[in-house]
């Protein structure tokens, strides 16, 4: 019947019959010139990435006002904080795509690991009084261990069942966080970051650009790791498992190990994102543990385009941006001037986000990057 990988078939093909998953791998061409073409292909993926990175890294020096788009100057604290949050979530979405887009694992529990990274960092800083580096290692180590345990159990089943087991684990974690055991998590009020334990550069409104760079660095790390993995045998094995698990097994891939690897790797990157999230936001909050958060990760990845690095990051960034900025739209004067019921409905940011999401799924099933790719090709072919 259905499996979470069904969609991939549609996400990965567009009507021209070409694929985007395989751009890394389209070098299976014929004999001569292969090497050159491969190098060219690699260049074609690396150059835009480096360019975009350059532009993003320079933003804290851009003192231009973009009214309506960002709160104040591009490099003002408000904009920097907003962009930092967007980037962190973009990176987290990328980590989720390792599971969902690459390996076809529909997990509803990714939030668990992001939250684990975030909470374990804040807790080990203030509760266990560790220095930052040690706290970071502890948070990542424990989260990865947790991922291993959850993965070993949950991967015994597949498809929607897997989604539900992971959901169950995440629900359990969410409940535990809300119960505030031993006062460690702060319940629904969250756990603030111990300011004295982190470098001054990361604290205070004026230092927002440094938090922005931190978030950017996280995205770069996640990007590089995912790129390496996707190009490696493990990445191909993940694709094989996604496409046809039984076939992969008969070929000799240890499918359980492949899925576990993807799960642990994705969770590791997710918890790294959680830790950075805590640093950028100055604390952990229980919203990270909720299944809505995982659900929104799914939304982001699909929004941007599953199985594509640009797609995941873009989806994450856009979603977070929209979520934060739609509040402005809702209170815009033109909304207030609309008839009562319409105005009341439109003043709910979630309504706009939900409706927008439906539209994207509807008109750009391969995600925004897929749509972009299609436009580029169409104009090129004219």
């Amino acid at each position: 019947m259905t499996s979470p990988t069904d969609h991939l078939s549609s996400t990965h093909t567009d009507p021209t019959g070409s694929t985007h998953v395989t751009t890394d791998a389209q070098d299976a061409g014929d004999g001569a010139g292969v090497e050159r073409r491969r190098r060219l292909g690699r260049l074609r993926t690396v150059v835009p990435a480096v360019l975009v990175l350059g532009v993003l890294a320079y933003l804290p020096y851009v003192a231009v006002d973009v009214p309506g788009v960002l709160p104040g100057r591009v490099n003002g604290p408000g904009s920097m904080q907003l962009l930092a949050t967007c980037l962190v979530i973009g990176g987290v979405a990328l980590s989720y795509d390792v599971l969902f887009g690459r390996t076809g694992l529909l997990s509803f529990g990714h939030a668990l690991f992001v939250a684990a990274g975030s909470y374990l960092l804040t807790i080990s800083l203030s509760e266990w009084s560790m220095p930052l580096p040690l706290a970071l290692v502890t948070a990542l180590g424990l989260s990865t261990l947790l991922a291993l345990v959850v993965g070993v159990v949950a991967l015994r089943v597949g498809g929607i069942a897997f989604a539900m087991v992971t959901l169950a684990f995440a629900q359990a974690a969410s409940i535990i966080v809300l119960r505030n055991p031993g006062g460690a998590t702060g319940g629904e009020e969250g756990h603030p970051l111990d300011r004295s334990a982190v470098p001054d550069l990361l604290v205070g409104v004026a230092n927002a650009p440094y938090r922005y760079w931190l978030a950017l660095a996280f995205v770069v790390v996640a990007w590089v790791v995912v790129t390496l993995v996707v190009r490696a045998r493990a990445g191909h094995a993940m694709a094989a498992v996604r496409e046809n698990e039984q076939r992969a097994a008969v070929l000799g891939f240890g499918t359980y190990r492949v899925r576990l690897l993807a799960f642990v790797l994705g969770s590791f990157l997710g918890s790294l994102g959680g830790a950075v999230h805590a640093l950028v936001l100055g604390g952990s909050n229980p919203h990270l543990t909720t299944s809505e958060f995982t659900l929104s990760l799914l939304v982001m990845v699909v929004l941007g385009g599953a199985g594509s690095r640009w797609g995941a990051v873009l989806g994450g960034v856009l979603y977070t941006y929209a979520d934060a900025r739609l509040v402005e739209v809702s209170s815009a004067p033109f909304v207030q001037s609309l008839p009562d019921v319409v105005g009341q409905v439109l003043s709910q940011p979630l309504f706009i986000l939900g409706a927008f999401f439906v539209v994207v799924v509807y008109f750009a099933p391969a995600g925004l990057t897929g749509l972009g790719g299609r436009l580029v090709r169409r104009t090129a072919s004219r």
Partner: protein, 240 residues
């Protein structure tokens, strides 16, 4: 052969999938009697032709059933208009029992229809088994039985003997021969001996176009032509 009006007329049929142009102007008629075999190498578009007729592939051109244009109708309408379709991969409903598979088409009689009892006694024995657990050959029987439950103006049958044991191939050939006495069949088949035995006419496709049309006996007789069109000789095959 008497010249009757054809049951199905295809004019300038095109099928495109995204950028690839699969059928590039197929023209052919299916006469109102006998078996018309649609031949060709792997991937030339035989299945696609059948799917286009039944409305399962995006198509342009003109298709007439008994003189009525059907190329704009939805699949279900076309089928109710009298075209039965047996797909290449059998596509039985694996989760339903044999009985339920047949009742889907014929709610009243299902497995108990005379045609099933006569042609496929094995299915009567297995009426309660889930079709998904049937062997390949058994599934083919379900797929065939399913369309035979209904009165059809035309049957489209895609490689019905694929994966069948030799004995069954013979039996299926007999069934098809018998059915074709009352219902015209457009048959896609790789098994040339079978084609030779039951087909009246052949249409050969290559690269999305019709490259040959004629009586089956003619093609069989012309060794050179067979080799040119299909890459093999029917005679030698038949000897095996």
């Amino acid at each position: 052969m008497t010249r009757t009006t054809p049951v199905l007329e295809i004019e300038d049929l095109h099928v495109r999938y995204g950028g690839s142009h699969i059928l590039q102007g197929v023209d052919c008629d299916v006469p109102a009697t006998g078996v018309t075999a649609l031949l060709g190498r792997n991937g030339v578009g035989k299945t696609t032709t059948l799917r286009a007729i039944i409305g399962l592939a995006p198509r342009t051109g003109r298709i007439r059933l008994h003189g009525r244009e059907i190329q704009r109708l939805a699949t279900a309408r076309i089928v109710r208009g009298g075209i039965g379709y047996v797909p290449e991969d059998r596509e039985v409903f694996g989760g339903l029992t044999v009985e339920e598979n047949l009742r889907l088409v014929d709610p009243e009689r299902g497995v108990d229809a005379p045609v099933v009892e006569r042609l496929f006694p094995e299915l009567v024995r297995r009426r309660g088994q889930r079709a998904g657990t049937l062997s390949g050959g058994q599934q083919q029987m379900v797929a065939l039985a399913r369309v035979l439950l209904r009165e059809n103006a035309l049957l489209l049958i895609d490689e019905p003997t694929k994966g069948l044991a030799p004995k069954l191939v013979t039996e299926v050939a007999d069934v098809l021969a018998e059915v074709s006495r009352t219902t015209p069949i457009l048959l896609v088949e790789q098994n040339l001996p079978l084609v030779r035995r039951i087909a009246d006419r052949v249409v050969v496709l290559d690269a999305g176009q019709v490259v040959h049309r004629g009586a089956a006996a003619e093609l069989v007789a012309d060794v050179a032509l067979t080799r040119e069109l299909l890459g093999v000789s029917m005679r030698r095959e038949g000897a095996a």
